[in-house]
Amino acid sequence: MKTKAIVIVCSFILLGGLIGLNSSLAAEPYHLGVNLAITGTGALYCKDGIDAIKLAVDEINAQGGFLGKHPIKLFIRDTHTKPDVGVREAKDLILRDKVRCILGSYSSAVAAAFKPVCQEYKVLHIPAISNSENITKINFSPYTYQVVPNSYMQAKAVVLGVAELAKKKGWKEYVTLASDYEWGRSTQENTVQLLKQFAPQLKLKKEFWPRLGETQFTSYITAIMAQKPDFAYGCLASKDNVAFNQQAKAYGFFDKIPYPGSLISVSELIIQAKTLTRGLIGLCRAPFFAHMDVPMMADFVKNFKAKHNRYPSDWAVMEYDAVYVLKQGIEKAGSIDTEKVKGALKGATIDTCRGRLFFRRIDNMLSCSSYIGVVADDPKYPFPIYHDLVEVTGPESWRPEAEIVAARAAKK
């Protein structure tokens, strides 16, 4: 009787152990956090980004999840485009929802604010919209991998184009108009510095700093026109950009002052299909139509359009890529363990919608391109796209490593 009882107890223990072992081998879900601006000034870009993330997650989960056995569970939070809210939500995602990676954010100030939180809690952080170069240049975090061309790369791409135009047209003076926050400041500063280097004949006449979320640009438009610069360089994003374009057009601004290289993403091309001035020279970060020859992009556009009945914006492309960056990092690591994935992504070559790219080791910056082109109608699409598109690759445009080392040393 005694022996029988021992056998039964041992059997239960063994069975319990096996069940436990089995369940731990089978599918620990991968908790993925998204910390984007669902409301506020960044909502326009982030909605597309979230739709693309969901699409990527559905595709990966249809194959069983990461490594075929870790289904992804999404936790989406709204930063309201405020750094304090971004930090709060990031902490909540990490501590309550136990996420292993956070995608975000829209605002560079928000991304920079919660980057140290991710580092402290050893959680991966993949910004795909916010692109201040300071996110990876200084206060480096080995947990942060940036998959959007940063503000320096974008500025350099514009500068190369503007320097060429300045030489051709004999431009001498210019003004800048940039949103008064982290991204606007850092992009404007980089552009001005690079213009000094590549087009030393150009003189910066005046700087204008509208606040983020400005609704009425008339005073800026008339002040810029009064300066009579040879050209104006703008660093406005999202709805600020839309409002400026609408109002500047009504002033005949673009007829009088060249405005090359301002951010006109696919979102603006779609939203302002009827009203956007044709012939503008714009800059964007990941236009789908530039890479329709890449099978991953062609499939993404087809699936995104089928699901949402619209074309994906730059923001959708980059957030989609962010999920697949994570997937390939996990596959390379052979594990969902964050330390292993972090190590696997270091210097890794990644297949993205924008082609095969790699992470630079010094700053975990993806070698992604910036794109400059002329806004023009195209019979293939119900909105204007870029013609004469120039792709400036990551290695052509990113900051030299020596400067990054110097910047980090100076920061210390």
Binding site: A43, T215, Q216, F217, S219, K239, Y251, I271
Partner: protein, 294 residues
């Protein structure tokens, strides 16, 4: 300094000031008469812009679409204003100011979420009719033709409100109610009905302002928070409850902003707050206001 440059910046400040006047006049009217500080005023202004978009969207193929949409959006907001006053605001007239603020702050959240539910998070854009899509020139200086319409609407509202308050019997009653609700009530005039009318009028103007703003840029969530601070600056400078003060305050804020962009672009907003703080210190009831009632 080129005189055309000064004139150009003046026009720009005038249009900005008029836009602010349209927003702030309803806010000031409601506070002046009812002693209710409506935090949700700018959110209702935003709702006016969204309503305008919807009406315009339905009539976009017609040349008159935008103009009719502006009128319909204002009326829609008046209706919402009536509902809010009857259901909510009426119950807090006799409550302390913090309770009133809490209620109207709650309204910001509720209306903001309703807007998100109904219209989504995407920006909305109204394409202007050709008549107001391009520039007009004053002595060779370009000016957005739509802002002529904005300035005209601003003047119309200012004159209309002045005429209503000074020249009509109802206006006289409203002004009397500002000074002594008890006396007006003792004369057999129903104060609640007067208050409802004033609140509806204030929100009608907020709706009109939102609808007029709609074709200026894109309509998006969060716009209300961007303007509410400047609207409060206007009424603080001009004096709560003073129509003339609101008008002058709007012009001060608009022109200070426009000219500081010309001379000191980095400090445009700072200057407005410095002016506001100065007025608060030396004359807390504003340039044309009267000391607040207890």
């Amino acid at each position: 300094m080129d005189i055309s440059l000064i004139f150009s910046q003046f026009l720009s400040g005038l249009s900005r000031g008029m836009m602010l006047f349209l927003i702030a006049s309803g806010l000031s009217l409601i506070f002046g008469v009812m002693n209710i500080l409506n935090f949700a005023h700018a959110t209702l202004w935003l709702a006016g812009a969204y309503f305008c978009y919807t009406f315009w969207y339905l009539m976009q193929d017609y040349g008159f679409g935008l103009w009719v949409s502006i009128a319909l959006a204002s009326l829609a907001l008046a209706l919402i204003g009536w509902f809010i006053e009857v259901v909510l605001i009426r119950r807090v007239y006799k409550r302390e100011l913090p309770e009133q603020l809490l209620l109207t702050y709650g309204l910001i959240l509720v209306i903001g979420d309703l807007i998100k539910l109904i219209w989504g998070v995407e920006d909305k854009i109204i394409a202007r009719p050709p008549l107001v899509a391009g520039p007009v020139f004053f002595f060779g200086i370009p000016f957005d033709s739509y802002f002529i319409f904005v300035i005209l609407v601003g003047f119309a509202v200012a004159v209309g409100l002045w005429w209503f308050l000074k020249k009509t019997r109802y206006g006289h009653i409203v002004r009397a109610a500002v000074f002594s609700r008890e006396m007006v009530s003792a004369l057999g005039i129903p104060i609640p009905r007067i208050y409802t009318g004033v609140f509806v009028l204030g929100i009608f103007i907020a709706g009109l302002a939102g609808a007029v703003q709609a074709p200026v840029g894109s309509i998006t969530l969060g716009m209300d928070m961007a303007v509410v601070v400047q609207a409060f600056c206007v009424v603080v400078i001009g004096g709560f409850g003073s129509l003339l003060g609101t008008f002058v305050g709007s012009m001060i804020v608009g022109e200070v902003y426009a000219f500081s962009i010309l001379f000191w672009p980095q400090g445009a907003l700072v200057l407005i707050f410095i002016v506001t703080a100065f007025i608060l210190i030396v004359r807390p009831w504003g340039l044309f206001g009267t000391p607040m009632r207890a």
